[in-house]
Every structure is written in C-alpha cells, then in structure tokens.
Symmetry: C2
C-alpha cells in the first residue's frame, strides 16, 4: 500500500511543480490584494479599469473604448461591460457615445474617479513592494523574464484554441 518507485506521485517533474506553485501563489496574491483594494471600496478588476483610464489621460487620451480596455486587460468584452456598469453606478467613470463611430462608447474617469486613482497611487507602489520584497531586485527581474517567456508560450497556445 506504500508508494512504489513507479508511482508517478513520487516524482513530480519540475514542470509540474512550477505549474502548481504558480497557481498556488496566484491564489495567495488574490487573497492579499482583495482586502487591500476593498479598503478603497473597489475590486482588483475595477482598479485595472481605473488605472488604465488614468494612464490614458496622462498620455492625452480623454477616454478609452470598452474594446481597448478589453485588450489591455486581457479579458473579454462582456467582462468589461460588467465592470464598467458597476464603476458607472458609483460615479467613478462615465460612458459617452463616440463622436466618430456610432458603434463604440468611450469610457472616462469622473473627477471622483480621478481622485480615487490618485489616492490609491499614493500607497500602491508600497503595497507592490511589500509583496515583491520577498525577492531581491535581481530575482524580481529574473522572475519577470521567466514569466514573460511562459506568457509568450501561453499566448501562442491561447491563439490555437479557436481551431
């Protein structure tokens, strides 16, 4: 009844271990970030929208289409619709019809939204550092490079799905 040498359970490969650890660590990250964002009354996904709108503003774009947000955040358009609905309901963003394209809607920060983003930005770098300071700068760069490589592979695999 004890494990035998031929039992695959006894020798997980490096691929299996890193794969599992990746999923595990991400779960923990969500556990930490959710209460952090909750302090500001938002969720992680909502922060993603707000931050992207803020960046766009700083680059001279007064707003973004929902499709742009979808592409930047790597989520599907229906997911963006839902997040935008909730942010609009609490007055952090506004939806406006595009002047040039009757199909699309632009989404932009309200003054209230802008202020919230700036409030979060005051502490956000410290929060990110708090998490990543488990690693040295060199190791952070190493991790980044490894994840970029895995990400590129995943992008290829994700593409090949719609057969």
């Amino acid at each position: 009844m004890l494990r035998t040498p031929t039992n695959p359970r006894s020798t997980p490969t490096a691929a299996e271990r890193s794969f599992r650890q990746f999923i595990r660590t991400f779960g923990l990250l969500e556990r930490v970030m959710q209460p952090y964002f909750a302090r500001f009354g938002i969720s992680g996904a909502q922060w993603g929208v707000l931050r992207n709108l803020h960046r766009a503003e700083q680059e001279g774009q007064p707003g973004l289409r929902l499709t742009d947000l979808s592409r930047r955040m790597l989520i599907r358009p229906p997911s963006v619709t839902g997040i935008a609905d909730r942010l609009e309901k609490v007055g952090l963003i506004v939806r406006r019809a595009s002047a040039t394209d009757g199909r699309s809607k632009h989404v932009a920060l309200t003054e209230k939204g802008r202020q919230l983003v700036e409030q979060v930005l005051k502490v956000h770098p410290a929060q990110v550092a708090r998490v990543m300071s488990a690693l040295s700068i060199d190791e952070q760069e190493q991790l980044d490079r490894l994840l970029v490589r895995v990400g590129e592979r995943l992008a290829v695999l994700a593409d090949g799905i719609g057969d």
Copy 2:
C-alpha cells in the same frame, strides 16, 4: 505634454514589472486551461477537487471532508460547497455524513468520477509540459523557487489581514 524624467510612468521598478507580469501571465494561463478542461466537461476548480480526492484514495483515504478540500485548495469553505454541489449533481462525487463527527461530511469519487480522473491524467502531464516547456528544466526549478518565496511572503501578509 510629453513624459518628463520625473514621471513615474517612465521608470517602472522591477517589483512593479514582475508584479504586473505575474497577474498578466496568470490571466493567460486561465485562458488556456479553461478550454482544455472544458473538453472533459469540467472546470479547473472541479479538477482540483477530483484530483485531490484521487490522491487521497491512493493514499488510503476513502474520502475527504469539505474543510480538508478547502485547506488543500486554498479556497474558503463556501466555495467548496458550490463546486461539490455541481460535481455531485453530475454524479462525479458523492457526499456522505461522517460516521465519527456529526458536523462534517465526507466527499468521495464515484466510479464515474474515478474514470474521468484517470482519463484526464492520461493527457495532463503533456498539457502541463506544453505550457512549461517555454522554460528549460533549470529555469522551471528557478521559477518554482522564486514563486515559493513570494508565496511565503504572501502567506504572511494574508495572515495579518484579520487585524
């Protein structure tokens, strides 16, 4: 209107880059794994339950409590309840009252569930390898070590949440 040297946007730190890349890469992973599991009619979370039950069986445990699953999968008990509900509805697992503790319920694979797990296990290592083969074995081990360290830090941070 152009970026100035003092604009934080111009110099993301290694911490910020690796943090962002981690979230980004995980999103891509889900995008790839979801359709993969869908081929078997299950979700990633459901696979997590089935695989844990299968492992428990191989170690001589005929079933697991919902709380055990919650701890192994790093998710809260109510989430396990939902997943178990759906797996039970399609006949892949069964819930049974514990003989020794009136509070808890044991969950176990049905024959149908066991067969599904074995079917998935036939191709799963290859799928994991397909993703992780973006890295050499050495790099996979490096990634694992880095993620373990970040995970340990996150576990500490997650603990300190319930002030």
